[in-house]
């Protein structure tokens, strides 16, 4: 297996003049291709910051990040946003869809930004919407869709660029349990078919339990790195009854 994400001595701090807030304190981490990793930890532990640094949405104070052997530190802002557009699909808690655009136009947006012709982009967007089960909602605007549907549009938008890496920041945080399950299942399927990598920040045990690996942060440090076994066997049994 090869690493898709490599993080070395990554740190982030805010503030100056003695008031220094250390959000991440030297994180080392390797994420393998095809892995589903959940990042957990109490609020303020630095998990969203870690996600933003890996995804190139923010710059570290120290340390380095590689995505597929490209060092993010060496990229200028333009290079960084190009890498994001081509390699990383983002899914956020509150969907972050553009309210004035239809589902199809929202999904097409990253392609158009990347220079794909509008007609071709819209066509690929339709395919992506179909893949998340929303073919019949392509002309709806976000306000005309339920929360779960909006998140599926956001997933289609993340997938349309065929990213190597999908990053979710509390992607089920605004959804009820059942809809959240659907969204996580959709994300899972989208990586297992294409051997993509999925990194999700969550505080929800139910979401994390789908992952192959759970990383816990506390006070800006990794305190546990828990790899879960997925045997072929679909588990012995949930319940063992006592006899008679």
């Amino acid at each position: 297996m090869s690493s898709i994400v490599r993080v070395e001595a990554l740190s982030k701090h805010y503030g100056s003049n003695g008031v220094r807030l250390e959000v991440l304190k030297g994180i080392d981490l390797n994420i393998e291709e095809g892995e589903f990793v959940a990042v957990m930890g109490p609020s303020g532990s630095g998990k969203s910051t870690l996600l933003h640094l890996i995804g190139g949405l923010d710059r570290p104070s120290g340390g380095r990040v590689w995505i597929k052997d490209r060092a993010l530190n060496d990229l200028d802002d333009k290079g960084l946003s190009q890498l994001r557009r081509q390699q990383i699909g983002f899914v956020f808690q509150f969907f972050n869809l553009l309210a004035v655009l239809s589902a199809r136009e929202n999904v097409a947006m990253p392609l158009i930004l990347d220079g794909v012709k509008r007609a071709a982009a819209l066509q690929r967007a339709e395919g992506a919407l179909e893949a998340v089960g929303l073919a019949d909602r392509k002309d709806h605007r976000p306000a005309e869709l339920s929360g779960g549907q909006q998140q599926r549009v956001a997933i289609a938008r993340a997938l349309v660029i065929k990213p190597a890496l999908i990053m979710g920041d509390e992607p089920t945080g605004a959804l009820d349990t059942r809809t959240g399950d659907e969204v996580v299942n959709l994300l899972r399927q989208s990586i297992s078919q294409e051997r993509r990598t999925l990194v999700v920040v969550t505080h929800d045990a139910r979401v994390a339990a789908h992952a192959d690996r759970i990383i816990y942060l506390k006070d800006g440090e990794i305190v546990d790195d828990n790899r879960l076994n997925s045997g072929e066997r679909p588990l012995a049994a949930p319940v063992s009854g006592e006899a008679s």
Partner: protein, 194 residues
């Protein structure tokens, strides 16, 4: 749940012989709650002795597993009572994990952090396995099983949240000192007045 009441519940719905009961039990529950044919036969015998069920064998066909059983009036009453008796869930104040946590707080060969982490890993593995199973369950044709899995999931979630809560308050917990046992006065208690 016991085999006894499962049998009563099924026989209330229709009369059956032992072999059929076994199949129906497996179908109704679809878990690995493995009930052996011998266990069904012995339970039926006990139920018969207690006059809760009654066999009527088809003419000439006296093999014990071919006896067809139905509930007696007493059996129906027993079943009704079972349905209307609330189940008491056992809480875990005496369980081994709680003891590990509490003793590790005041000094042990491992830290409370290690105790919590070990338990959390185990719980997540269980939840991971259940989630994998749940993904294979058909929500329409296997709804009872789905709901059974949900209760397991929710309990695991509750345990995990509790561990989170303990971790969040670990600094306070570490300051905890158990109260000193009160010295009991020896001998016969004195009477205040006579």
């Amino acid at each position: 749940m016991s085999v006894k009441y499962a049998i009563l519940a099924l026989l209330y719905q229709r009369q059956m012989h032992g072999y059929e009961l076994g199949k129906q039990l497996a179908l109704a529950l679809k878990t690995d709650w493995d009930v052996k044919p011998g266990q069904i036969a012995s339970t039926l015998a006990r139920l018969e002795q207690a006059e809760l069920v009654e066999p009527h064998s088809a003419a000439g066909d006296a093999a014990p597993d071919r006896k067809i059983y139905h509930l007696t009036e007493k059996g129906v009453e027993e079943l009704r009572l079972w349905y209307l008796t609330a189940e008491v869930r056992e809480y875990r104040s005496g369980d081994a994990f709680y003891l590990k946590l509490v003793f590790s707080l005041t000094g042990g060969p491992v830290t409370p952090e290690q105790v919590l982490r070990t338990q959390r890993r185990r719980l997540y593995q269980e939840l991971h396995d259940i989630m994998a199973l749940r993904r294979q369950v058909d929500a329409d044709s296997e709804l009872p099983l789905l709901l059974l899995l949900e209760t397991v999931i929710l309990h695991l979630e509750a345990d995990l949240r509790w561990i989170e809560m303990c971790e969040g308050r670990l600094d306070d917990l570490k300051r905890y000192r158990p109260p000193k046992p009160q010295r009991q006065p020896r001998g016969r208690p004195k009477r205040d007045s006579e």
